[in-house]
Symmetry: C2
Subunit: 224 residues, 2 copies
């Protein structure tokens, strides 16, 4: 009984890691669809989001079942509560990747991002992919040095967003539709970065018991 329970907890962590890898793929694929105008790929990302949503529902059901069946306390209980939060963050990251794919589809056959802003968006997408990948690794290994790297990378993401917004503001030639797309895309990537930070902070809390959220809130608004 006890052994089965420990194995259930292990599976739960594996499920979260797997969900993170699905989200990582969605973010990567949507970025490729965005930069290349690949409509079929955008459609695949949009269609695949339901799988991520279903993963969250399954995970949540498993967690509630474990809470009911095992009445966990202390560390195990904290893990289950953290897992509820993490599945939520991952599901939301999947939605944001879907939004990127929807933008690509909406403007097809045009490219959403004008050439001189493409590098900034590509960098943000890369940071989001790396952040998601590493957050999955942190969930798997509880490597807090890697967690710290995810935090630092999100500072870079925030700086890129501010830079993008300033560049868009200076870019007087840009049609309003493109301003709108760039502002929203910048926001989607920045929020993906925040969720990656939120994921690794939950793991940090499980390991050290020390929540840094209150001391150091996640910046999620650009200073433009």
């Amino acid at each position: 009984m006890r052994e089965a329970y420990q194995s259930d907890l292990k599976h739960l962590v594996e499920d979260l890691v797997h969900m993170a890898s699905l989200v990582e793929n969605a973010i990567r694929d949507s970025a490729v669809a965005l930069s290349s105008g690949d409509l079929a790929l955008a459609e695949r990302v949009i269609a695949a989001d339901i799988t991520i949503d279903e993963r969250q529902v399954d995970l949540d059901e498993k967690i509630v079942e474990l809470l009911a069946r095992q009445s966990p306390v202390a560390t195990d209980l904290r893990l289950l509560v953290a897992a509820l939060r993490m599945s939520s963050s991952l599901e939301r990251m999947g939605d944001l990747a879907e939004h990127v794919a929807l933008a690509a589809r909406r403007r097809f056959p045009d490219l959403v991002v004008p050439e001189h802003h493409r590098e900034a968006l590509a960098k943000m997408a890369e940071l989001a992919v790396q952040g998601t990948h590493d957050a999955g690794e942190v969930i798997r290994t509880r490597d807090l040095a890697l967690a710290a790297l995810v935090e630092r990378r999100d500072d870079e993401m925030d700086a890129l967003q501010t830079e993008l917004y300033r560049a868009v503001t200076r870019d007087r030639e840009l049609p309003t539709e493109q301003v709108m797309d760039l502002i929203l895309l910048g926001r989607y990537y920045e929020r993906m970065g925040d969720h990656a930070v939120s994921l690794v902070r939950r793991v940090g809390f499980l390991v050290t018991g020390d929540s840094i959220d209150a001391r150091s809130p996640i910046t999620d608004v650009p200073e433009v």
Copy 2:
């Protein structure tokens, strides 16, 4: 012991309702700060967000303690898990109200919203205030007819966002900073509406056991 526990659950619901009222005030005050350029009021909303954040931390601790101490099952367990999710949504709504206040502060002494877009923003703010108020009522009373009204009102919010984005797109005179502000403000309000729906759906699930999330996902991206 059992009585104390039922009283704890009752307090938990009261805490959620109180948190909803703090968020409702934040949304209302930030909308006034936005439309009137009232810097002092914007500062108050920004400063008060920490109170909402602390409420969430307190609530989550209470919930974890109840899970640990009472090992709830069935309905009580579902309530506690729903409460975790609801405190999360409310905290996020508070952040969004803070973002509105930050926008007001950033552009002070100018008004953020140009005159001909002011009515649209005011309507969105009003829907967000009403949605938050009613979500609090639904949490308190479990009134599913009111929950349905919150859902319908969010459709109106989505329509207003789409309309705003189209109007901004057509508005060729608008400086890029204002386009940026309007797009982000529209997004903040639309997300507040989504969170209100998410709140009442959690209550609906507690009452009927029927989750409609999978059948009818909350639309959170404008079709422009």
